[in-house]
Amino acid sequence: MPRATSDAKLLIQSLGKAYAATPTNLKIIDLYVVFAVATALIQVVYMGIVGSFPFNSFLSGVLSCIGTAVLAVCLRIQVNKDNKEFKDLPPERAFADFVLCNLVLHLVIMNFLG
């Protein structure tokens, strides 16, 4: 058992070290994803407590967060220099896509919000 714990510790430490080497702009995106998912979780907890009465409002709130998180992940894939697939794609273009998709997503969200 203690061995497993120390293994896990070791694993996390190495993971933390490896992650520290990640470029800052990717870290920002990761932070953004965490922020979005955390917001979604809080809303789910709220729904668990009070019930799902304005269901479309709940859905739009959660899907807004999840949707923007997914878009952020896509942005991260395109911006990451290790991904050779998107080598020719400038990060500015990827960011423009991100902004556009977010705007379309939130137009739909607002329409659904009620």
Binding site: K27, I28, L31, V34, I42, V50, G51
Partner: protein
């Protein structure tokens, strides 16, 4: 054949009542002014609780109407009105001419005692107005006010009458109508009446004769004005403005009243006779009488005052022919009575009334034989027995001809020659050859035929099965022996047990009314209900004095058993009139609102959702994020700021969309913002891209 099948008894009654009421509108036509007008006047011009009638104009209209109709008002009301007028007259220097005009006329009608000093002041003020103004209404009010003061026994003289006359005449138009003032482009018929009244007042007030050539010109204007008169088919004439959309449009009653007032006043003071056809004067009288009892006080005053001017005028006094009753019964041998009176119901001069033509309801000529009506001096009524006319029940138009007996009356009175009146004749309808029976087949071999008497209730007893037929026939004839077709002929079958009723229209041909009920085709309609049915026959018409609803007896029906899918008979209400009663109340159920969480909890979670943002910002600071990449050159910096502002604007638009905008407005704004955003975004991002590319190469 069974168009009215299933109509309940109450509906039958209702139809009969409607038929009886249908005669009523005939009664409302031209009748002279009567007590009905007096009671209407008391209602329309009811004084308010403090004893006043409203403003000066309304007060004048009220007291003038009461004066004409001879309605006495108590002293308190008269005192109040006099005081009201006196107050206005006393403050003559500050009151407009219109108020003084009405106040003077109120005093005149009520014979209030006004100091001669007060009237001197008023006269001076009104004369000053006459000098200064060129407005027709101002002239009318001041000249009219002066005339009223003069008529109350005060000595008033208009010094420059000729000038005033010319000032008013200057506003006249070539078609006999007048303008309100020199600046207005529109001419008006109402103004013509006002002007004529003012001109006649000027003539009365003049210290010397007014130029007779001018009077002749005005007479010519009046003739032209009467060329613009409008008419209905029945000989009714009235005045109305040419352009009904004009700013000062007053309606035909007020306009006609104004002209009548002006023309009769002018005819009274001008020497010689006006060349106006008598039928137009009579037509105007018919117009005012035809209104009946107007609903508004203003119209009522105009009607009564115009009629009082027509009652005694120098042009033509209209004589109105009217029927006290328009419904005549052949049974009681009613006499046709005709009254010829003035508009206020006073006796006409000796004259002869002839019935020259009788027209049927479809304008078919019944007779053209001229019959003179006898005159009953005591009751002032011309009468004629209708029996010799050989007219049957129904609607008729009678054409009367009035001729004055004395030649010199022809120039004083207008009778209009022929007058058409609608009448309604009722009588007893003979019912006979009534037969009822059951037949077996189409060939019509009748097994049992019974003669019945429809004068009284009978109680025949019949029985039939679904293969047989019920036959009923009878004849209707008018007092003159012609066949008669009433409005309603119904046969009613009522099932004893379930109270289900079936109503059938009995078709009538030229010879007789006959109905054949083939039970084979009716079993479904009868809901397969066998048993005893009561028979009733209803015959009704407005002209039929003996309309009836007779019980004929009963029929025992033997109908086949109802198949499975046969419709069930409807439930019969215990009280047939209950369906006119209040309906059951319908209570609406609204969905109860969902239970909402406590407010505090929701606020806590609103705060909680903000926490990740704080965490995000802290995280950014920990990562050491900076804005060093933000362009420092002015142009790219501007584009970058605009890019961020654009995104902010779009998000703000989304918030507005959520709060109040609809999708279409939002998309409209979004399309503009989107284009802008794409442009600045492209510029901002391509600048960033080029700088990073440079860094790479460097």
């Amino acid at each position: 054949m069974a168009a009215a099948g299933g109509l309940p008894a109450s509906a039958t009654l209702l139809l009969l009542v409607i038929a009886a009421v249908a005669v009523a509108p005939l009664a409302s036509a031209v009748r002279p002014v009567s007590d009905a007008h007096r009671s209407a006047a008391a209602e329309l011009f009811a004084a308010s609780p403090d004893g006043s009638f409203g403003d000066l104009e309304t007060t004048y209209e009220a007291v003038r109407t009461f004066q004409i109709l001879g309605v006495e008002k108590d002293k308190g009301l008269i005192g109040k009105a006099c005081k009201f007028a006196a107050e206005k007259l006393a403050s003559s220097s500050s009151s407009p001419a219109k108020d003084l005009f009405h106040a003077a006329r109120i005093s005149g009608v009520l014979k209030c005692s006004v100091d001669s000093g007060v009237y001197d002041d008023v006269a001076t003020r009104l004369k000053a107005v006459i000098k200064d103004t060129n407005s027709l209404l101002e002239l009318y009010y001041s000249v009219g006010g002066l005339l009223s003061i003069k008529e109350q026994g005060h000595n008033v003289v208009l010094p420059d009458a000729d000038n005033t006359f010319h000032a008013i005449k200057a506003l006249s138009q070539s078609d006999g109508r007048w303008r309100y003032d020199t600046n207005s482009a529109e001419s008006s018929t109402f103004a013509a009446g006002i002007a004529l009244e003012a001109l006649s007042a000027v003539i009365s007030l003049a210290d010397s004769e007014v130029d007779s050539s001018m009077i002749a010109v005005v007479k010519n204007d009046i003739v032209k004005l009467f060329d613009t008169i409008k008419s209905y088919d029945d000989g009714t004439f009235y005045f109305d403005e040419k352009h009904v959309d004009a700013a000062e449009y007053k309606g035909p009653i007020t306009t006609s009243a104004s002209v009548v007032r002006g023309v009769t006043s002018f005819a009274a003071v001008a020497s010689g006779k006006l060349n106006i056809p008598g039928e137009k004067i009579l037509g105007l009288a018919k117009f005012f009488l035809g209104i009946g009892l107007p609903g508004s006080a203003k119209d009522f005053f105009n009607q009564i005052e115009s009629l009082s001017f027509l009652e005694n005028n120098r042009v033509f006094v209209p004589l109105v022919l009217s029927l006290p009753s328009k419904v005549f019964s052949l049974t009681s041998k009613d006499q046709l009575k005709v009254e010829v009176t003035t508009v206020f119901g006073s006796a006409a001069p000796p004259l002869r009334v002839n019935l020259v033509q009788v027209l049927g309801s479809d304008s078919k000529v019944i007779t053209t034989e001229t019959k003179e009506l006898q005159f009953d001096l005591d009751n002032n009524v011309h009468y004629l027995d209708i029996a010799p006319l050989k007219i049957d029940v129904g609607k008729y138009s009678l054409v009367f001809e009035i001729s004055l007996q004395e030649q010199e009356h022809e120039t004083i009175y207008a009778t209009g020659g022929t007058n058409t009146e609608a009448i309604f004749v009722t009588g007893l309808i003979k019912v006979d050859k009534a037969e009822i029976g059951i037949s077996d087949n189409d060939a019509g071999t009748v097994e049992s035929v019974q003669k019945i008497d429809l004068q009284k209730d009978t109680s025949v007893s019949l029985s039939a099965n679904h293969l047989q037929k019920l036959r009923l026939s009878f004849q209707l004839s008018t007092p003159l022996g012609k066949t008669f077709k009433p409005h309603q002929v119904f046969l009613k079958l009522k099932h004893d047990e379930s109270k289900v009723e079936h109503l059938f229209v009995v078709p009538g041909s030229a010879r007789q009314f006959k109905i054949v009920l083939d039970f084979l085709g009716l079993v479904e309609k009868f809901y397969y209900l066998s048993g005893r049915y009561d028979l009733e026959l209803a015959v009704g018409d407005a002209a039929m004095e003996n309309s009836f609803l007779r019980a004929l007896g009963h029929i025992e029906l033997d109908l086949p058993e109802a198949p499975e899918k046969a419709p069930k008979p409807p439930a019969q209400a215990v009280d047939p009139f209950s369906k006119f009663g209040p309906k059951k109340e319908i209570s609406h159920i609204f969905r109860s609102p969902e239970k909402r969480p406590p407010k505090e909890l929701s606020f806590v979670f609103t705060g909680l959702t903000l926490l990740p943002i704080v965490g995000f910002l802290i995280g950014l600071m920990r990562l050491g994020v900076n804005l060093k990449n933000f362009p420092s050159l002015p142009a790219p910096a501007a584009f970058a700021s605009l890019f961020h502002a654009g995104i902010g604007a779009v998000l703000l638009l989304y918030v507005l969309f959520w709060i109040k905008l609809d999708l279409f407005t939002t998309l409209k704004y979004l399309s503009f913002l989107g284009v802008f955003l794409v442009f600045v975004g492209h510029r901002a991002l391509s600048y960033l891209s080029s700088t990073s590319a440079k860094q790479k190469t460097a």
